[in-house]
Every structure is written in structure tokens, then in C-alpha cells.
């Protein structure tokens, strides 16, 4: 049987190539994603090994509790250590040297006045005299190290990008002190790489200056320790732990080895990386799912085409099992081949993927490609298994071909039977139930995503099984205008689509999946954007809004400056923090006490605004209800620096305007309990005595002087947020394109096979006078029917999915919106793409030799 299998394959190279392509693309995406993220992981590992060089152990405060939700990092939550601890550590046995260290906010303003901030953070750090420093991660490559309070050195990339020179001036802005002028004395290489840690901007100051400008007077973030000769990292750590315990400090402080620190830091970055990896893998899986449809379709068609051959084999004594195995064997060959091609393609495409992400503002550091065994094994297995599984149903059908078929001049009955429809309906219902359970069942994030994804998977297959019922009517409706004008080509195209509704439907289903996802995303995006705009407009009366240009919060100095220059304005700062209430770790929004003058949160009567100015909490109504909180209650909480009590000063009824979502607002009067003070946003409401123009000038100047901040009025703030959102959205669309492209490959493939199958009929049509043009038009018409059918089906399902998802989060204040124009554009584009996909098979049909076609067997 293997010989038959292989011969069958070689005889149909074209089909083989196209159907392989559909799987290979998905596998390539998957392999590319793995290689990309592994490469990044490798870069991070190397990086933190470098940045902790020379550090054998560190002593630091214990993390008060784990942050949640990813909005606040561990380092932002960890309290500083007192400077006096350095002396304690120095006296511990096995310690050769101990130095306080810190990494704080320091934004460098380039020589052209523009802040040097991309998407990477901007840090300041202390610089100890080179000869005896613990941390050996940096070395001066230009000029010298800072020695005086007004001296600064930059990492070499910042030095070059900022257009600085040794001996020249530089301006750096901080959080708690006003921007300051420094003299540039040198440039250094950090972590052995010019890119520094993931592109961060670094400024080095003398240790005392570093403490002063970065809000750490008398404090450090941590203490870096070098071991005495002959003391290992773990021995040192154990000594330090023992000493902390002996001094009664073990409750607040801890010690870990330098290696542990490096691993911890790499892991923190890598956990973000794994989210990113999952994000990309989802698209790869979607692509493979679509590819599976193409494979299924290809095998169904070829089994139908070779029905007589199969019948003959059966008549000659081949068992059904052998026939089954021949088909599955063929798919195995296709699967192995496409997986191998896909893996090679995927590795080759990594730079392209990096370029694509960079194009959407996601700049990733490069490094030598890491091709893990897992990448090869998983990609290979997934590609092969998906292919083989897709061929199982056609193989089963082939095995059931009775020997008599060899003698009958009749195609396998293509009419889908009722059992199939029942199965389809059942799958659809099961999928819908799982999907709805995921949406409304109240499962946690990961579980609900799994339920939604799994539900959609079954629902898709169910729809695909049911869709042959619609294929005929759809073909007739779609061709109705052309048929009415007497176009016989339209009539024929429609009949061809109808004659095998199952094939038409499964070809269309592949496109349907892509269009479903695209239109669902469009609906979600429109709903989010609409609600975002609406709530901001409805709830905020700010004249101006400051927001970070990159991803990182900015210095409160900007708000200070505006307050100073516009005394009659209301200036509200917002911060994000994490506290513990009981055993729950929750995010809180920190807000200036008078924020309700700008932002309407629907404070219930009885709120104590005056008291809130001295500290306390506003709680969202449902949360207050759940916790049984009312105004005046005192809540025991844990702040990053220790236990505390806050009073509930008000209950509010409205959702906070996006992007804020915590159900708690903490007065900034209490913010001294948090280790960092960056603002994530600042709103300004000008006073009556100031003109808008004057206010704008002040706000813009403050933003420019502190740097890295965008200053907008409310309308352009909304535009800016939406533009940022759109960038991500466009990336999603581009990634979904792959699924659409694979579906188009499927259309090319199915039509080419149909043309091949109908050679004789095409010959007849040509013989009785169909011109090449008419023939091509007919085939393109079939492509149009298939693509329009798939696109419209996808549109409907996508809008329904989108609607359901929006309903499931309607309590977040998100309302359903239908982006009609955009959806129409998507469908039109998909149909046009389908038409283009029809061109190669149409040309193939047109090139058929008439005489050969009519005399062909």
C-alpha cells in the first residue's frame, strides 16, 4: 500500500505543494514564535548574569506581599533598606565588601531638549570608585567616573543618542527633586552590552547624589555584597541570613545569592515573555486550525476523485483498512514534509517577525538564535498530528468505498447525510454552551480563556459541519444579480458551488474562521474605544491630561510645577499601587484628594471629602457591598512598608474612567507608605482666572521640562490613547492575516482540484462555444461564491461572538458597538482576496486544451 500512497503523491505534486503550504505556514509561525521568545530568553539570561557580575549576595527588604495583575512590579513594591544596615552587613563574617545600591527614576534630557525615552525604563544608579566596587557590571569606556555631586556619566548608547560630550552639560529630571543640570564626565558600558539592560537609559551619579536625587536619603534599595576569598556565594548568603537572624532583623530583611538575584530578574522579564509567547502562539494555533480545514478539504476532494481507483484496489482485494492506511499514510508524508518545511521557514522568518513587531513599536533586543529541542519537537509533532488528524475522516470515507464503485460510473455520493448534520448541530451546541460558560460562568482569567477558546473551537467545527446546508442557498443568493442579467457563467458557477455543498462549505469555513476572528476583534475594539471615549467625556472635566509618552510612569515634578505656576488650577495626580486587605492583595488607584472635582465617580451622599484630604479610601459600591464596608469604617490593611489602617471616606457608584479599574481609590495623603511616587497620569482643570491659552502654555512647558510626558487637551488625549490602542489592534489584524492567507491557499487548492476534476466538462463547455474569458469568469465566480459565503458567515459569527464578549464585561461599563463601515470593508477585502485566489485556477482552466479535455478519461 505504501507504494500506492507514494505514487499517488508524486502524481499530484501541485496538490501536495499547496496543501503542504497551508500547514507549513502555521508550523512556521509556531516555530518562529518559539525561536523568537527563546532567543529573547537567552538574551535576558546573559544580561542579568552580566549585570550582577561581582555580586556574591545581596541583602534587601522582604517583599511585603506579592503584587497582582502585573501593573506593579516587585521592585516597585519592595521597601528600601536603611543606610545603617550596610555597616551591619560589613561586619558579618565572610563579607569582603558591602555597598548600598539603588535603581531609581532618572530621565535624561538630550542635548536637543527632547527626553531620551523610548519604551524602555530610564534609571539612575550610584557609582562607586572603580577600584573597590562590588558590582563589576559596568566599566568606563569614555572620560571618567562621576566624583562630584554635579557630575554624571551615561551608558554609552544614551551618551551617543543624546549627543553629549565629555565636559558638556546635561539635564536630568527626577521624581522628588526638580530637574537638575549636571556636567557629563564620561560614558560606560553596562552589562557588557551596548544595548544595556533591554535598552534602558542609565545615568550614574556619586552614591550620595544618587540617594539625594532619587528619594533615598539615608536609604538604599538593596545592599550588594562581595564574599571574602574562599567563601562561596551560598556560604556568604547563609552567613548573612544567620547574622540577620541574630540581630533580630530577619523579619524585615532577607539575603539571596548574586546568582539567585540574576535568575529572579531574568525570570521576571521572562514571565512577561511567556505572556507574549502565548499571545503569538494563539495566532499560530489559529493558523494551524485553518490549515487543518485545508488539509481536510484536500483529502476529501482527492478521495472523491480517486474513488474509482480506490474501488479498483478494493476489487483487487485491498481491505478497507489498507485503503484507510494508504490515505492516512499519504497525510503522514504531507504532515512530515510540511512540518519540516514549516520549521525551516519559521527559523528563517524570525528576523521578519522581529521586524514586524518592531514596526508596531515592540522593539526586541536581538541575539544569537536559540533553537531549542522543544521548538523542533513541538512544531514537528503539532504540524504532523494536525495533518494526520485532518485526514482521518476522508480516510474513513475512502475505506468505506465498496469494490463495485470501480465498475460504476458514479462519483461518491457527496450529499451530506443527516447524521453528519446532527453531529454538527450537537458540536455547535456543546461549543456554544462551553463558550457561554467561559464568558458568563465567572471562571478566573486563564480558565475562562480556555473555555472560550475551546468553546469556539467546537462551535467552529459544528458550524463547518452544518454550513453545507447553507452553501446552496448562499450560492444562489450571491449569484442572483448576475443570473438575472442572464449570465450563464454565473448560473454555472452557482451550480458548481451547489453540486458539492460540503466542499464549498469546508473551503469557505477556513475563510470563515479568519473573518470571524477579525470581525470579532473589530467589534470588541469598537466597543472598547466607544466606551472609552464616552466614559472619559462623560466623567472627566479635565482641560488637560498628562500621560507618559512611553510605557513608564513619570515624575510628580510635572504636577508640582503646574501647581506652582497655576495656583488657582486643580491638578490631580494618579498613581497605581498594591495593598493587602485581609488576605487579598488588591490594586489601588492613588489620587490627589480633590480628584472628584475633575473626575465624576458618582460619589454617594455622605462621602467625607474633607477627611479624604487627610487620607483614606473611596470604595466602589459593589466592592463595598461584597466586603460589607460603609463610610466611616476603618479597614486593617498592609502597605508596602507595613501594616496600617485606613478609613472608608466614601462609596462611589460609577466605574473609574479607563484605563483605571481598581475598585479602591486611596488618597495620595497616604502615599508616603509606598516606595515609589511616579505618576501614571495627571489631570488639570484650570481656574477661572487663567485663559486656556495661558494654562496650555504652562502645562506644555512643565511636560517638556520634566520630559517623556505628553500634554494634551481631553480630545487629543482620547485620540492619543486610541492611537496607542490602534497600534496593538493593527498588530492583531496583521497576525490574523496569516489565517486568512492560509484560507485563501485553501481556496486556490480546492478550485484547482475542482477544475482538474471537471476537465472533461470544461472541455465540453469549450467545445460548444464557451470562450476562455467566460470559462475564467465562471471559475472566478466560484471563488467569489466561496469567499463571500465564508466571509459573510464569519462576519455574522464574529459579530455574535463580539456581542457576547461585550455582554460578559458590560458591568465594566463597556457597551456594544458595531463598526459597520469597517466590517463592510473587511468583507469586501476578503471577497476580493478570494477573487484573486480564483485567478490561478481560472487561468489553469483557461489553458486546458479543448480536445485533450473532451477526450480525457
Amino acid at each position: 500500500m505504501w507504494r500506492v500512497t507514494l505514487r499517488g503523491l508524486v502524481a499530484k505534486k501541485f496538490r501536495l505543494a499547496l496543501s503542504s503550504l497551508s500547514i507549513a505556514l502555521g508550523v512556521a509561525f509556531m516555530a518562529g514564535t518559539f525561536v523568537l521568545t527563546d532567543t529573547l530568553g537567552g538574551v535576558f539570561d546573559g544580561l542579568f548574569t552580566n549585570t550582577t557580575q561581582g555580586v556574591d549576595a545581596v541583602v534587601r527588604s522582604k517583599l511585603p506581599y506579592e503584587p497582582t495583575g502585573g501593573q506593579v512590579s516587585r521592585d516597585q513594591l519592595r521597601p528600601p533598606v536603611p543606610e545603617s544596615l550596610v555597616d551591619v552587613v560589613r561586619d558579618v563574617d565572610g563579607v569582603a565588601r558591602a555597598e548600598g545600591s539603588l535603581l531609581g527614576y532618572a530621565l535624561v534630557i538630550g542635548s536637543d531638549g527632547e527626553a531620551l525615552q523610548g519604551q524602555a525604563p530610564t534609571f539612575g544608579l550610584p557609582w562607586y570608585p572603580r577600584s573597590d566596587t562590588v558590582n563589576r557590571s559596568s566599566e568606563i569606556v569614555k572620560g571618567r567616573a562621576p566624583r562630584a555631586p554635579d557630575e554624571v556619566a551615561f551608558d554609552i548608547r544614551t551618551f551617543e543618542d543624546g549627543g553629549f560630550r565629555v565636559g558638556g552639560p546635561a539635564r536630568v529630571s527626577f521624581q522628588t527633586v526638580p530637574p537638575r543640570e549636571f556636567r557629563v564626565v564620561g560614558a560606560f558600558l553596562f552589562g557588557g552590552s551596548k544595548d544595556g539592560p533591554v535598552g534602558a537609559t542609565l545615568s550614574a551619579f556619586t552614591p550620595a547624589t544618587a540617594q539625594e536625587v532619587m528619594n533615598r536619603v539615608g536609604q538604599w534599595d538593596l545592599i550588594e555584597v562581595r564574599a571574602a576569598d574562599g567563601v562561596s556565594q551560598t556560604a556568604l548568603r547563609d552567613d548573612l541570613r544567620a547574622a540577620l537572624r541574630a540581630d533580630g532583623l530577619a523579619a524585615d530583611f532577607e539575603s539571596i545569592t548574586g546568582q539567585q538575584l540574576a535568575d529572579e530578574q531574568a525570570d521576571e522579564l521572562k514571565s512577561n515573555l511567556s505572556i507574549f509567547n502565548t499571545f503569538l502562539l494563539v495566532f499560530a494555533l489559529v493558523a494551524l486550525f485553518v490549515g487543518a480545514f485545508v488539509i481536510y478539504n484536500t483529502f476529501s476532494i482527492t478521495v472523491a476523485q480517486r474513488i474509482r481507483e480506490i474501488g479498483l484496489l478494493r476489487a483487487l482485494g485491498a481491505t478497507g483498512r489498507q485503503v484507510n492506511r494508504a490515505v492516512v499514510g499519504e497525510s503522514l508524508v504531507v504532515g512530515v514534509l510540511s512540518s519540516v518545511i514549516g520549521i525551516v521557514l519559521g527559523i528563517a522568518l524570525v528576523p521578519l517577525l522581529q521586524g514586524l513587531l518592531a514596526g508596531f513599536g515592540i522593539d526586541l533586543p536581538g541575539g544569537p538564535l536559540v533553537i531549542a529541542t522543544r521548538t523542533l519537537v513541538v512544531s514537528f509533532l503539532v504540524g504532523t498530528v494536525v495533518t494526520v488528524v485532518s485526514s482521518l475522516a476522508p480516510a474513513r470515507r475512502a475505506a468505506r468505498v465498496p469494490p463495485i464503485t470501480a465498475l460504476r460510473d458514479q462519483a461518491l455520493d457527496p450529499a451530506a447525510n443527516r447524521r453528519r448534520y446532527l453531529w454538527g448541530a450537537a458540536l455547535w451546541v456543546v461549543g456554544a454552551v462551553i463558550l457561554l460558560a467561559g464568558l458568563f460562568g465567572g471562571a478566573s482569567g486563564g480558565d475562562s480563556a480556555l473555555l472560550i477558546g475551546g468553546g469556539a473551537f467546537f462551535a467552529f467545527i459544528g458550524v463547518a459541519m452544518l454550513s453545507p446546508l447553507l452553501a446552496g442557498p448562499a450560492a444562489r443568493v450571491l449569484t442572483w444579480p448576475a443570473r438575472r442579467r442572464g449570465r450563464v457563467t454565473a448560473r454555472l458557477a452557482s451550480e458548481n458551488a451547489e453540486r458539492n455543498p460540503r466542499r464549498t462549505a469546508s473551503t469557505a469555513s477556513a475563510l470563515m474562521i479568519g473573518l470571524t476572528l477579525v470581525s470579532m476583534v473589530a467589534v470588541l475594539a469598537a466597543s472598547l474605544k466607544g466606551s472609552f471615549t464616552e466614559t472619559i467625556r462623560g466623567q472627566s472635566s479635565a482641560d488637560f491630561v498628562l500621560s507618559p509618552k512611553g510605557f513608564f510612569p513619570f515624575s510628580p515634578a510635572a504636577a508640582e510645577q503646574i501647581r506652582a505656576e497655576l495656583p488657582d488650577a486643580t491638578v490631580v495626580e494618579y498613581r497605581i499601587g498594591v495593598i493587602q486587605i485581609g488576605n487579598d492583595t488588591v490594586n489601588v488607584l492613588g489620587a490627589s484628594p480633590d480628584f472628584t472635582e475633575i473626575t465624576d465617580i458618582g460619589l454617594r451622599p455622605g462621602a467625607r471629602r474633607d477627611a479624604f484630604a487627610r487620607g483614606g479610601l473611596y470604595v466602589e459600591a459593589p466592592e463595598a457591598g461584597a466586603r460589607g464596608l460603609k463610610v466611616g469604617d476603618t479597614v486593617e490593611v498592609r502597605f508596602p512598608d507595613g501594616p496600617g489602617r485606613v478609613t472608608v471616606q466614601g462609596i462611589y457608584a460609577k466605574e473609574l474612567p479607563p484605563p483605571f479599574d481598581p475598585p479602591f481609590v486611596l488618597s495620595l495623603a497616604d502615599w508616603d507608605r509606598f516606595p515609589t511616587t511616579e505618576d501614571v497620569s495627571v489631570s488639570v482643570l484650570k481656574g477661572p482666572g487663567t485663559t486656556t491659552r495661558e494654562a496650555r502654555r504652562v502645562v506644555e512647558r512643565a511636560a517638556a521640562e520634566v520630559g517623556g510626558i505628553a500634554a494634551d487637551d481631553l480630545a487629543s488625549f482620547i485620540d492619543r490613547q486610541i492611537a496607542q490602542f490602534d497600534q496593538l489592534l493593527n498588530l492583531v489584524y496583521v497576525l490574523l492575516m496569516l489565517a486568512v492567507v492560509i484560507a485563501l491557499v485553501g481556496i486556490v487548492n480546492a478550485l484547482a482540484l475542482s477544475v482538474y476534476e471537471r476537465t472533461r466538462e470544461i472541455g465540453l463547455l469549450r467545445a460548444v462555444g464557451m470562450t476562455r474569458r467566460q470559462l475564467r469568469r465562471m471559475v472566478r465566480g466560484e471563488a467569489l461564491i466561496v469567499s463571500a459565503f465564508g466571509a459573510l458567515l464569519g462576519l455574522v459569527i464574529g459579530v455574535v461572538f463580539g456581542f457576547l464578549i461585550v455582554q460578559s464585561v458590560s458591568s465594566e461599563g463597556i457597551a456594544f458597538a458595531l463598526p459597520v463601515v469597517q466590517l463592510v470593508v473587511f468583507v469586501v477585502l476578503a471577497v476580493l482576496a478570494g477573487l484573486v485566489a480564483g485567478i490561478p485556477p481560472a487561468r489553469r482552466a483557461g489553458r486546458l486544451d479543448v480536445l485533450q479535455a473532451i477526450t480525457s478519461e
Binding site: 442572464g486 450563464v488 448560473r491 454555472l492 451550480e495 458548481n496 451547489e498 453540486r499 472533461r760 466538462e761 465540453l764 463547455l765 469549450r766 467545445a767 460548444v768 462555444g769 464557451m770 470562450t771 476562455r772 467566460q774 479543448v850 480536445l851 473532451i854
Partner: protein, 249 residues
């Protein structure tokens, strides 16, 4: 042997010194080796000859389905052998009718739609009176709403004949139209074709190797090894069998 050559205007189809060579060099097959023949308007002609003698090739060349290697082919006064692909297609659509041995019909169209296909391709609809007459002639009026797979072999061939007639072509070419039929259905088809010539004034050129089929024709042309070797006017089954036997010798 020379074939009488009537005036140009009365010939519906005409081959002049046509050769057709397949392949080249040692493996070249001379399917037609210099054929000159006229088929008159209003005549029912049959082409006979042993298997492989070039009957189908001649028919294909006359019908503009295949290109000649040398020589000329005329349809009425138009030289088909000088036409390009597009012109040939339009000639086939508007001036020629076809009846093949099998696979004559588009399976997705009803009988009636199949009949109207050449006209539909030209963007025209059939003349109702003419259509009526054809349907009556081939005795199909009650079955034409069905698709080919719901029709018997004989009915399918009748639909094919009706289709060939519908555009009132200058010539109908038929390649063994009864080859796949039982003798009764075959006789029916042959009768209809003869009626089409007698009553509707059509011209038919039919390839066959069946003496009974040939006996329906007004004239039989005999082909052997790519050459016209004989012909017979007013053939009967016996006279055709007689000639065939002599050819075989």
C-alpha cells in the same frame, strides 16, 4: 481516388489536402495523410473506417477542435484553419453543433438548460418556435426539466442532438453518437438525426464504425490510414458491410 468537388457555395464543410501529424521524427503518426473532401449542405454524411484510421481526427479538424498540420479547412466560405482560438470558439458556438459519444451534457444543468447552452453562452435565448419544433422532433418535451443523471443514456443523447440543433448551425458533427447506446435507443437517435436533415434542413457529418448507423446517411466516406479510400451514395447496411469487408482485405 478523387472525390467530386461541387461548387464552393453548396459545401457546408470542406477539407482541402489536410494532413495531421502527431509527434515527430521516427515516432510521428500521420493521422491524416492528405484528405480532401466536401460535405454538402442539407446532406447527412457518414465517415467510416477501421479503428485508428483517422475518423475522429478528421472530424475534430473539420469542427475547429484541432489544428491541421497542413492544408485548409472551410466552414461554408470561412477558412477555419486560418482562425485564432477565439474565432474558433465563436464559430463552434454559433455555427457548429456537436454530439459526442458520451459526456455530452453539463451535469449541473437541466436538459433544457443544456439545450440552450450555446445560445446562453452567446447571450441569446432560443427562438421558442424552433425550440418547440426540436423538442417535438426529439420527443423530449416532458423530460427536459430533469438533470442528466435523471435521464437514460438515450434521452441524454437526444438532449445532445437537440442542443446541436438549437442554434441552427451550419453543420452538426457527431462522433459515434450511438456508440454507447443499445440498438433501440441508437436507432431512435439516428432517426432523429435523419429527420433533422430531411425536415429541418440541417447538415450532419457523423463518424461511425457501425454499418447500421451508416445506413441512415445519404452518403458514406471511407477512410483508411488517414486517406479517403472510397465513398458510397445512398448506402444500405449490406452495401456498407460489403465495402468495409473489401477495405479490410
Amino acid at each position: 481516388m478523387s472525390v467530386p468537388s461541387p461548387s464552393v457555395t453548396t459545401a457546408a464543410a470542406r477539407a482541402v489536402d489536410v494532413t495531421k501529424v502527431y509527434g515527430q521524427g521516427d515516432t510521428a503518426v500521420h493521422a491524416l495523410a492528405g484528405v480532401s473532401v466536401d460535405f454538402l449542405r442539407g446532406q447527412y454524411a457518414a465517415i467510416m473506417g477501421p479503428s485508428g484510421s483517422g475518423k475522429s481526427t478528421l472530424l475534430h479538424c473539420l469542427a475547429g477542435l484541432d489544428r491541421v498540420s497542413s492544408g485548409q479547412v472551410f466552414l461554408g466560405d470561412d477558412e477555419i484553419s486560418a482562425m485564432n482560438e477565439k474565432e474558433l470558439t465563436l464559430v463552434r458556438r454559433d455555427k457548429i453543433g456537436f454530439v459526442f459519444q458520451a459526456y455530452n451534457l453539463v451535469p449541473t444543468l437541466t436538459g433544457l438548460e443544456n439545450i440552450g447552452l450555446p445560445l446562453a453562452l452567446a447571450g441569446r435565448s432560443p427562438d421558442p418556435e424552433w425550440l418547440d419544433r426540436i423538442l417535438t422532433t426529439v420527443n423530449l418535451a416532458d423530460r427536459v426539466g430533469h438533470r442528466p443523471n435523471e435521464l437514460s443514456g438515450g434521452q441524454q443523447q437526444r438532449v445532445a442532438v437537440a442542443r446541436a440543433l438549437v442554434s441552427r448551425p451550419e453543420v452538426i458533427f457527431a462522433d459515434e453518437p450511438t456508440g454507447n447506446l443499445d440498438s433501440r435507443s441508437g436507432a431512435e437517435i439516428l432517426g432523429f438525426m435523419r429527420d433533422a436533415v430531411r425536415e429541418l434542413g440541417q447538415t450532419i457529418v457523423m463518424v461511425t464504425h457501425d454499418p447500421v448507423a451508416a445506413s441512415y446517411a445519404d452518403r458514406v466516406v471511407f477512410l483508411a490510414d488517414g486517406k479517403i479510400v472510397d465513398e458510397l451514395a445512398g448506402p444500405t447496411v449490406d452495401s456498407v458491410m460489403d465495402r468495409m469487408r473489401r477495405l479490410g482485405d
